[in-house]
């Protein structure tokens, strides 16, 4: 996939709130813009799309300058596709005509995104004749996403694409969104305040809070330190994040490899051997044992050794860092009592127990 640079240097004051971001994003796959509500995530996306004008600054996408003190390319001429939370389908047109609206106006762009291909990829065929008012939340988002792809942008901007959908619908839409960058050769900026969503989707993460960028980097790196970032209002439980490789599939279970450790999970999302799945294991879901336990329902028992034991002074909890080999780090949160009774110390061999059900989302 081609990599393209999005330079955003914008300031915008609005109703006492000030957005002030100066970042250069190397767009590849999905970049999540993550932060609590009111952080300015949607405002930032609107500025990039050209739906709002910064007070001052500079926005460029590759070699194209979209905004500076002399230039302001209008939204209809920027190559940015913005997906509204509500979908914003045209109520006077059927789904088919909504798709055609976009298709007709981007026919000159040869990027190999065909009308029929989009209808198929997003399973829109059963919806074509319907009016937007008759669609459910998930159907609306799919139709709006299809319409957006048919306007053949070079950058996708998704504003909380899963808002208002129930768990089942989210599960359906998530792999679809995840597949977009590769399927349509299209980098994507997606706004979210849900850590599970970001974990599942993001290749890169930009953390935004109070109108400022707090961190930005590869998803795994950011997610592994997310509990140390100033995001307390999101109540994110500390945890460890891995891209685990599917190494075996037996009946309805799959075996995942993390470092030298193996993990067993129900087979999902039609994953094939050799593919990766992003896992976020909450520290509180990891128990510790000094010997390999027998006669226990927990099937996932990962061998490793302790590299660090830390505590924050105001809690009775300790965070134990366990190396699983190959630089894979798993964290466990246990009480001071547990540390004392098991006599845990740095360098010690340890077994980490993870309840399979806690990994299901």
């Amino acid at each position: 996939m081609t990599q393209i640079e999005l330079k955003i240097h914008v300031q915008k004051a609005h109703d006492g709130f000030k957005l002030d971001v100066n970042e250069t994003l190397s767009l590849k796959g999905i970049t999540a813009v993550f932060g609590p509500s009111g952080a300015g995530k949607s405002s930032l996306l609107k500025l990039i799309a050209g739906l709002d004008i910064p007070d001052n600054g500079h926005i460029s996408f590759g070699d194209e300058i979209w905004y500076d003190d002399k230039i302001n390319i209008p939204a209809q001429k920027r190559e940015a596709g913005y997906l509204f939370q509500s979908g914003a389908l045209f109520s006077h047109l059927s789904v088919r005509d909504n798709l055609r609206f976009a298709d007709k106006r981007s026919k000159h762009i040869q990027n190999g995104v065909p009308l029929n291909g989009v209808i198929k990829a997003l399973d829109l065929a059963p919806l074509l004749a319907r009016k937007p008012a008759t669609l459910s939340g998930g159907e609306t988002q799919r139709a709006a996403l299809g319409r957006l792809l048919l306007s053949r942008p070079k950058l996708l901007l998704l504003d909380e694409p899963m808002t208002g959908l129930d768990r089942a619908k989210k599960r359906e839409l998530l792999p679809l969104i995840k597949s977009l960058p590769a399927q349509f050769n299209l980098p994507c900026l997606s706004v979210s305040h849900d850590v599970d969503e970001v974990t599942a989707l993001a290749d890169h993460i930009l953390i935004l809070k109070d109108g400022r960028a707090k961190a930005h980097g590869p998803a795994i790196e950011i997610l592994n330190q997310i509990d140390r970032l100033p995001l307390s209002d999101l109540n994110i439980d500390p945890g460890s994040v891995f891209d685990a490789k599917v190494s075996k599939i037996v009946n309805d279970m799959m075996e995942l490899t993390i470092g030298k450790a193996k993990l067993s999970l129900p087979h999902q999302n039609n994953l094939r051997i050799g593919e990766y799945i992003r896992l976020r294991i909450r520290s509180q879901d990891v128990s510790l044992a000094t010997t390999q336990p027998k006669n226990i329902s927990i099937q996932n028992c990962l061998a490793g050794h302790i590299t660090q034991i830390t505590t924050t002074s105001d809690t009775p909890f300790y965070d134990v860092t366990i190396s699983l080999g190959d630089d894979k780090i798993l964290k466990s949160r246990v009480t001071r009592q547990a540390i004392e009774s098991l006599n845990l110390s740095k360098g010690q061999a340890i077994f980490a127990l993870i309840k399979t059900a806690s990994l299901e989302r």
Binding site: Q76, F101, R147
Partner: protein, 227 residues
Amino acid sequence: MGPNLTDFGPLWLSIKLALIVTLILLALGTPLAWWLSQTRSRLKPVIEAMTALPLVLPPTVLGFYFLILFNPQSFLGKSWIKITGETLSFSFSGLVIASVIYSLPFMVQPLQTAFESIKRETLDAASILRAGPIDRFMSVVAPLSLRGFVTACVLSFAHTLGEFGIVLMVGGNIPGQTKLVSIAIYEHVETLQYAQAHKLSLTLICFAFAALLCVYIFNRRHPVKIG
């Protein structure tokens, strides 16, 4: 020649005037209503108040000022004679100009309401899908405001048809030129020709009722769309 045939003249003239005025108002009122619906200018309430003035003023006030404005000695009156060779006062052209001003709120207000009910997001979505300003108006705003357009046109048409005071002052009573149906009825009553007055009045009642009925039936079939 029966009285019905002589009364056809004023009736046709009224319909012709109302049609022309509605078309002119559609062309002038649409951009004005659009501007009013979108602007954040401090001038907005001033323009809105000016547009609504004909609703509250007695027609005689407007008629009086139009007479002064159309006078062959005035700037407008003089220029008009230079360009067209005709006077504005007591002419069909004068009636058209006066009626356009008089019926302006009936075009602008329903349109403005319709335009204001379209969400910003809908327009933004059209921009994102590469539609420029005129494209956005024609393919999104206009169809979503269809109900507003029908209401505005019918009201403007019917209101122009029903004028009396202002057209009497500006146009007078010249057959084929400025003798409209409302003036013809007045004349019939003044000369005690009640039968003819009845015929014309009933025709107008039926016409007005049919026009309004069409609007309400249309509105029922096209409920307000949110978008």
